[in-house]
Symmetry: C2
Subunit: 520 residues, 2 copies
């Protein structure tokens, strides 16, 4: 063993003791998540050591915060995507695609405090590039670049954030976003209402249990900050702090406002009075009468739009799941009007292997592990103008569905149900009952493929019939087409139903039709 | 204007003169492609300067060698993908997905001379990462990591190469690969034959004109190098040089072998005699009798397998497009057995806007712009073992369809035909004939969405009927559901066929069924 290996051994021994002590502390209710951190550090050290020891010491892992999808997970993912894409198409959207990386400058100045989470590419000569952080900024760049002032498009693709991953709760560094956006100059709140209707339709159809869509408006937040005495230049950073209310108690948010962001206690308390308010159209009405808030023109414009929005949502019959919530702030800088976020009420049952971590997280989160936000969006009327050479604005509103959390739930649901997830669509397995029939199998399967039948065979010269039948059971293939000397002589194929074990001789010429009929 | 701006102005003035001189030279037949290079340099300089001048001087472009897909291009892309995915599913494949980046170590030592084209991510603390260069290495990593010894999977995803882009010929730095691979210990040439059948099916169904699939075997190449006196350690680098025969004349390849790779002229000449050979099963038979080549056990094993492969291809009825070609080498290091590559015979008609560049390229390429290779693959029995801690091998064979070149052709075909490409699937537009009916439109469209009908409406309070009908014409929406005071009173909706302009009153309760019936 080389020196690095020895260092590693000593390091491990040290950590083992630490782990032992920690676990004792944990059983008395102390933090287990620190152990996860230590383990992660250890694995990274192991990775670094492994890389130096030659060809067979590769670290077999995916990059931190990322994962592979196996065929079963892909089958579930496809199902989720289909529901979402169908909804987007039902609402008349086209689709576009943009590259996975953008010029670094394109992303600069769009994400506020989150900009530190952007992945940069190494400077290998040429342009400076970054991986996309969301699909909204590339969309705005696309509109400005192609001078498009009117489009309804969806875009489903992966985005990248160097965030702290929490994979059991569906938080990854590489993850899918499913975005639907409407760009164009239209009458107030009509496309905004459609976006909320879309979230409602998708979350209902995915059947993930109860959900709630919170709605607010950046102009109401800004107006509220103004009347509470917050200086203009602190609006965005205070907005980021308010945004933490879904994860932090008000007392901690207040502390951050005072200690880190420099508000007076009085300002913070005034904000505190507003951000605990929740309601519907009535609350908007009521706040329009609020002696303080109504002094802000911005706030009034936002409140009037919220009222209009709720009136459309009533016609769309979705108000049972929508709430006007003054604590909703959203992290990103580019929102200018209505903002919204959808949350599932359901807690996620953790897989057994990770239940310890989950329980700890639950303890930290007060009660039950909420998967939190599964969709979010809002109006960003200024973003396209940031890209246009003449600053021409294209008003936009859109929503982004966060598929990973939804996918975590769907996966766990599939695991809990006993139904087997098929990962192929194969209709028939071409089998032989005797030896030396490989060429005949090749000939038959080729006929089937050419006729559009989904067919497989075993890649063996002389497979046993039993093995061929087992393959069908394992993969859920419903039919077997069996060839033997007798069948070849008679010009037939023995077609066997895998579940019922019934067999019939089918004339070769009728086989394709018979398979199609049985696997509709 | 700041200093950088002035530098830019002076630089431009200089280039303008250069361009002027160059264009004179061009009209007398000199290189135009140098101008393209200068223009590219200028644009990059402009980009760098622009970044410093504030918010509205963004360079509105995608990263070099990448592009957006607009809705029309996406509609075509979807069509191509569907054909390919259907074929993969017809052959019983599951699908997986892997992250867009891998640990840098995972990609190291897999691509030979092409490794310099890998995109690295910036070291922002933590692991060193690279963008995937193909889907094959991540697949091998996935198999080793999950101890999978038997799988048939497809994977369609983007890969990244810092190559010299030639976008009009479909060569990009970000591009899709559509991979189908069979992993497992099977009888010789059975899965290999299926891979070739798949290429044959896909290229036939895409209807891109005539094509040719070249087949060879790495063991034949290595045996040939051995009997020609090439030292073992030069096999892979000489292989890379032979691989250039599709773009370079033999004389130039020979020069590279002698001057850059250090072969003797005699060795090169001996190789030259073999690499001009093309044929079928007969050629393999003939070479098995070749007094020199038959002395290599490796070559004989390869030739025997080629014979076996052709016997299966005959049963699969695809030999009309398959040729055994000793010049086929493939660039990548990891192939160990059969290799193949599919080429379209068709030349691509260039879009008018880029015809100048195309003509230049054509002049360089002797005659017509060939899109070249559209699919390639082979057997790589050692790759998974490079990842397995114990070096356990999993034999694999697979094929990769290069979608961008195919897509370029399909796009040009769509442009040439006058048929309009629809980018949405909207069945009906909900319209109003009078003012103040927004709420009624909202109500009706909500009913339609809830019934699964694909419907749109204009985001205006009081749109003109003419504008609403125009929208249908533009987007190819086949039906309009028109609401007016009278229709509301009568409990009907006026359903209009956009093409024929026929209108009928449909009772509200029957509307969904009527729309479904008409848009099946």
């Amino acid at each position: 063993m080389n020196t690095l290996g020895l260092v590693f051994m000593r390091f491990c021994a040290g950590i083992r003791t630490t782990l032992h002590l920690r676990s004792l502390r944990c059983s008395s209710g102390m933090s287990l998540s620190q152990i996860d951190e230590e383990v992660a550090k250890l694995l990274e050290l192991k990775a670094q050591l492994g890389g130096d020891e030659g060809k067979h010491t590769f670290v077999l892992k995916t990059a931190k915060g990322t994962r592979d999808y196996n065929p079963k997970q892909m089958a579930i993912r496809e199902k989720v995507f289909n529901i979402i894409i169908n909804c987007f198409k039902r609402h008349g959207a086209e689709t576009i695609d943009t590259p996975v990386f953008e010029l670094k400058d394109t992303l600069t100045g769009k994400y506020g405090e989150d900009s530190k989470l952007i992945y940069d590419l190494k400077d290998q000569g040429g342009e400076l590039l970054s991986l996309r952080y969301d699909l909204t900024v590339p969309f705005a760049r696309y509109l400005a670049m192609n001078k498009i002032t009117n489009i309804k498009r969806y875009h489903i693709a992966k985005v990248y954030r160097r965030d702290n991953p929490a994979m059991t709760r569906g938080r990854y560094r590489e993850f899918y976003q499913c975005d639907f956006d409407i760009a164009g100059q239209f009458d107030a709140m009509i496309p905004d209402a459609e976006c909320l209707k879309i979230v409602y339709e998708i979350l209902s159809e995915l059947d993930l249990g109860d959900f709630l869509i919170k709605v607010n408006d950046r102009r109401i937040l800004d107006g509220m900050f103004a009347v509470c005495g917050v200086p203009d230049e602190k609006f965005r950073t205070i907005c980021s702090t308010v945004d933490k209310l879904d994860k932090m108690a008000w007392e901690d948010v207040k502390k951050e406002m005072i200690n880190e962001k420099g508000l007076s206690e009085d300002m913070a308390d005034q904000i505190g009075e507003y951000v605990c308010m929740q309601g519907g159209m009535d609350l908007a009405d009521c706040l329009l009468q609020d002696p303080k808030l109504s002094q802000s023109k911005q706030a009034c414009a936002g409140l009037t739009d919220i009222k209009q929005l709720f009136s459309y949502l009533q016609i769309l019959q979705v108000t049972d799941k929508v709430v006007f919530d003054l604590s909703l702030a959203r992290g990103l800088d580019y929102y200018t009007g209505v903002i919204f976020e959808a949350l599932l009420s359901q807690t996620v049952p953790a897989p057994v292997s990770t239940r310890v971590e989950q329980n700890m997280a639950a303890a930290g989160d007060e009660a039950g592990v909420s998967v939190g936000s599964v969709a979010g969006g809002g109006r960003y009327d200024g973003l396209v103008g940031m890209f246009d050479p003449k600053g021409r604005k294209v008003p936009c509103v859109g929503v982004s569905i966060g598929i990973e959390r939804i996918f975590s739930i769907m996966e766990q649901k599939a695991e809990a149900s006993l139904e087997k997830v098929r990962t192929t669509e194969t209709q028939v397995l071409v089998a032989s009952a005797q030896k030396n029939l490989l060429e005949e199998r090749f000939k038959l399967i080729s006929e089937l493929w050419n006729a559009g039948i989904k067919a497989e065979f075993l890649y063996k010269k002389n497979p046993k019939l039993l093995n061929q039948l087992q393959q069908c059971e394992e993969k859920g293939i419903p039919l077997v087409a069996i060839l033997g000397e007798q069948e070849l002589k008679d010009g037939v194929v023995k077609l066997r139903n895998v579940t019922s074990r019934e067999e019939v001789d089918v004339p070769r010429a009728d086989l394709v039709d018979e398979i199609k009929k049985r696997t509709l």
